[in-house]
């Protein structure tokens, strides 16, 4: 098996997280992370980034849009067969 280098790890972190590595690659990646502090730093940054993206503030509906949608709903109703 070819030894896994930093650029392999950098390029395949998402494949790893998605479970898309084969068993050989998985072993190689774990061994490389064990040995390489820089890649561990890189992987930690990935984690922090994923956490931030999952916590972006939600978008709230504006009063204008909500009111427009209720109007649209009321206009739609008479044509509905329950």
């Amino acid at each position: 098996m070819r030894k896994l280098e930093c650029h392999d790890l950098v390029g395949r972190l998402t494949d790893y997280l998605e479970g898309a590595l084969d068993p050989d690659e998985l072993v190689g990646l774990a061994a490389h992370l064990e040995a390489c502090a820089s890649c561990r730093t890189h992987a930690r940054q990935f984690d922090v980034m994923l956490g931030l993206m999952a916590q972006l503030p939600v978008e709230y509906i504006s009063d204008v849009l909500e009111s427009n949608l209720l109007t649209g709903y009321r206009e739609w109703l008479p044509g509905v067969t329950v």
Binding site: V10, H42, A54, G72, V80
Partner: protein
């Protein structure tokens, strides 16, 4: 949303309609922003989507989840409004890029016996040394949001649904008609750029620490 809720909509239950709209608003608005030059245009797209959802409600067969069905209507409307051919190939998949930014490349040695290793000791800043209040700040989330907004469209679609909205790979493949392999490529390129933007922003604090 259950069959009962659909019946509530047909009965004229405004509360049920409001609940449905609010439950999906953030996702729909974020998706709409991908194709819209402004928040106002994105709002129009969301509005048009809900009217189309109501008109098409009888045709909803329950094969897709309601969320996927509504989002598919939105994506079709948004792409049409933006003049984008819905069935076009996601061209960014075809670009000859690796999952690295040029800055990543610069820090990895290109030649010599240690080909592919990081220059010096660190790939980039060790963010664990960044003060916690900065990591938790709204400012940092704004950096992330701006980085996502600056991505090529197909990368932005995938990272928004997967990492911001928390959809599964299967749901995203279903909505965007992109296969699992291409989705991973797009997701990784997108994450690579967002990580880089964060690192560029945080590096001064790391150096000063």
């Amino acid at each position: 949303m259950t069959e009962v809720d659909l019946q509530a909509l047909r009965r004229g239950d405004e509360g049920a309609f409001r609940t449905l709209v609010k439950a999906h608003h953030s996702t729909l608005f974020r998706l709409a922003m991908i194709y819209s030059p402004s928040r106002a245009i994105a709002e129009e797209t969301v509005q048009e989507t809900w009217l189309a959802v109501l008109r098409g409600l009888d045709g909803y067969a329950g094969r897709a989840s309601l969320r996927t069905w509504i989002c598919r209507i939105l994506v079709n409307i948004a792409r049409r409004r933006a003049g984008i051919e819905t069935r076009s190939l996601p061209f960014s998949v075809l670009e000859s890029e690796t999952g690295m930014t040029s800055a990543d490349h610069d820090r990895l040695m290109e030649t010599g016996s240690r080909t592919g290793h990081w220059q010096g000791t660190a790939p980039s800043g060790d963010w664990s040394r960044v003060p916690e209040d900065k990591v938790l700040s709204l400012e940092l989330r704004a950096v992330v949001a701006a980085a996502i907004a600056g991505l090529p469209r197909s990368q932005r679609e995938v990272i928004t649904l997967r990492d911001v909205e928390g959809w599964t790979a299967a749901e995203v493949s279903d909505l965007l008609s992109v296969d699992a392999g291409n989705q991973r490529v797009l997701l990784h390129r997108a994450r690579t750029r967002v990580r880089q933007a964060l690192d560029d922003y945080l590096r001064p604090s790391v150096s000063a620490a």
